[in-house]
Subunit: 425 residues, 2 copies
């Protein structure tokens, strides 16, 4: 609180440090609470979101008015907008997180040494998570709830366009959490829109344990470039679907259309289609995509299939369109497909379509992406679809957690050693 | 090879990039080999170390002569020195790593979704590991073997004082690995002693997946400060032993003496002793440590126990002595002890000695260090003692892996999704 009232005179670094020290202390209390107590606190917080709906919607109206004045796009304004229905969905989301089974305290493995020492590895919260996000105010509640469920403190930095909405949501959340015995400093909104505060979060090694950026590519890029704190993120979703020679043509068509066109703007959308030279349905597949209004950019052999296919440039193989545009290459067998993927994939999600089980297993084993699929649409790359209940994000880094990350990815472990007086010889 | 011969004209960044690209390609082949094939290759490499002993010992003599000329300390020269016996231990170490069970391919968990998608998370190698180390040439073989066992490529950068020994060891290792079908680029020594090459490794994000520094504090500090690649390391081992009021006095004495004095120079050595004000054996405990030649620096209440106790300064509570020196504080109960640990521990290993099980469980649950022990010596903080067979290092970071890190910490996972044509609704 003193940090907030004095925020005008503090440097961004000392402000973030003050907040993080308070968060650390609150996190220790949170971690010492039972799993049931944390779940209960989230349910109380959800109720406070409902009871505070008038104040939250007022604050949101204020953001919307400011956004219109600043000339935000319709899409941006829609992402920013809350109404009773959307706010109810936010509250339900917090309750759904409360219902998730809690990984904290889970014994990963245990053993007894010949000298009688009993060892176990036990899941514990990571500590303090920094979340840096844009526009959608529902992230405030989602991310805070996931952090709290797994015993973590959350330091949130939302976008300036949603500042009033975020404050109102946070105020309802904190009131609910505190009513249920969680120290309020366990979830905090950075109380300034000064961009330097983001830099201070990114360099707060030792104070913040992990940063999760949620937003567009430029945000993620900045976070990955400047962070001295570990980052959980994906920059690109350049997802491939490889139609093997032994693919069923109908399945290939259905999966390619779904992977590209169901929703073009999500990170699991296919961006490059690889068609085996020995696949018999190539022409029909290309025609079906064109018929659905997808722009195709192909190599010479794909262009030869249909005159409407535009020529692909070298850049196309490394481009995430997030639109009804697709790069298409013809490849000569499984190895050639895997080589293309090794070179161009962002290691998010890559798919093989084939009825040849041996080829599928080769692909699953050798393609080194966070998610590798056989005979399924890459659009399933999602924590909800994976049965994780919710996700804090999708990670394409190689350490700690990969793919959709939910509660388990918000924990780490410690070693417990129980002895009876053993000294080391 | 071309990278090596041209190394004089390359920038350190392009040199490291060339080596890392070759390592990445080799790593893919290594990962595609069976676990048995990787183990076999390590056994062949161990045999080559034995057969190459004359060349390795010659190279080592050359390093030792240069070291003497440069005025290296006796301790440094001893760490550098190899003889038949030490080299045999290195070969046996490589064989021991070959014998470790391989985590790659292990299914962490699996599930089937209502739509029939079958999900599994499978352990895979991390990729390319950079190892930056000092003096002891045995690290060349140890670290390379651990990386290869888990399917990783290793880029090694040893200290200049061991350059000939490291090259000779590497040459024998690579000859053995290649004889057994592992591409030689899977383990590489950075072919220049230019310090800028270390900087290039630390910033090679996307080319090197993890950096492990092995050496003194100044090395680890530099690596942690400059790295843009995730680092697995511990900077300090400021380990505490808390003697609870209900500790058995004999056990307390035995564990304190062992934790401090068995070997004072290892990271698991106790650096601060916390004695409960209600523990009855405080005076005898202090006297026993003094009798064994340990310098004690205490707070006022500890000083009052024995006139030989020197006054502790504020710095002492944050100092890793790595010597027969110990800071000692008197604390008022479990909470006070845990508060001291939360403030001063480097989160490596902290110990409670007590016969009160409830107090022990409180301590194990609430102390948030990589390793938390009850009634055991902190000197057990070691991968071998934990039954891991070997360790690449001990980590005090919070993500990915904590405490002693062996083969599992050199792996990550990917999600495999097996479908029958599911498109996402």
């Amino acid at each position: 609180m003193s940090a907030q009232s004095a925020s005008e005179t503090l440097t961004p670094e000392s402000l973030v440090a003050d907040l993080a020290v308070a968060a650390r202390a609150a996190q220790r209390e949170l971690a010492a609470m039972s799993s049931e107590a944390r779940a209960h606190a989230l349910n109380v917080a959800a109720q406070h979101l409902r009871e505070g709906s008038a104040a939250i919607l007022d604050a949101n109206a204020c953001d919307l008015a400011a956004g219109e004045e600043r000339g935000l796009s319709k899409a941006m304004l829609d992402r920013l907008m809350l109404d009773e229905e959307r706010l109810e969905a936010v509250a339900l989301g917090v309750e759904a997180v409360a219902d998730l089974s809690d990984p904290v305290g889970e014994i990963i493995d245990q053993s007894e040494r010949p000298n009688g020492l009993k060892l176990s590895r036990v899941r514990v919260p990571i500590g303090t998570i920094g979340i840096i996000y844009e526009s959608r105010p529902n992230v405030t509640a989602d991310a805070a709830a996931l952090c709290v469920r797994a015993g973590n403190a959350a330091l949130l930095r939302g976008g300036s366009e949603a500042v009033h909405s975020n404050r109102a949501i946070m105020s309802a959340l904190v009131a609910g959490l505190e009513e249920a015995g969680v120290p309020g400093a366990a979830v905090q909104l950075i109380p300034t829109q000064d961009r330097a505060a983001v830099g201070a979060m990114l360099t707060a090694a030792g104070l913040i344990d992990m940063i999760v950026p949620r937003g567009g590519k430029s945000l993620v890029e900045r976070v990955q470039a400047d962070a001295r704190v570990p980052v959980l993120a994906h920059l690109d979703g350049i997802c491939h679907t490889y139609i093997h020679s032994a693919a069923d043509p109908e399945m290939a068509k259905a999966l390619a259309l779904n992977a590209k066109l169901r929703r073009t703007g999500i990170c699991g959308a296919m961006e490059t289609l690889l068609i085996d030279a020995d696949f018999s349905g190539a022409e029909q597949l290309v025609a079906a995509l064109l018929a659905e209004g997808c722009e195709l950019r192909g190599d010479a052999r794909i262009q030869a299939l249909d005159e409407r296919v535009l020529p692909a440039s070298a850049n196309d193989w490394d481009t995430e369109y997030l639109d009804a545009v697709l790069s298409v290459a013809m490849v000569d067998g499984l190895d050639d497909a895997m080589m293309h993927i090794a070179r161009h994939s962002s290691a998010h999600t890559d798919v093989i379509v084939t009825s040849d089980e041996a080829a599928a297993e080769q692909f699953l084993t050798r393609v080194d992406s966070a998610i590798v699929m056989h005979n399924a649409s890459s659009q399933f790359a999602d924590g909800g679809e994976f049965g994780l209940g919710a996700e804090i994000g999708i990670a394409t880094g190689r350490l700690h957690a990969r793919g959709p990350v939910a509660l388990e990815g918000l924990t780490t472990y410690k070693w417990l050693v129980r002895g009876t007086g053993q000294a080391r010889p």
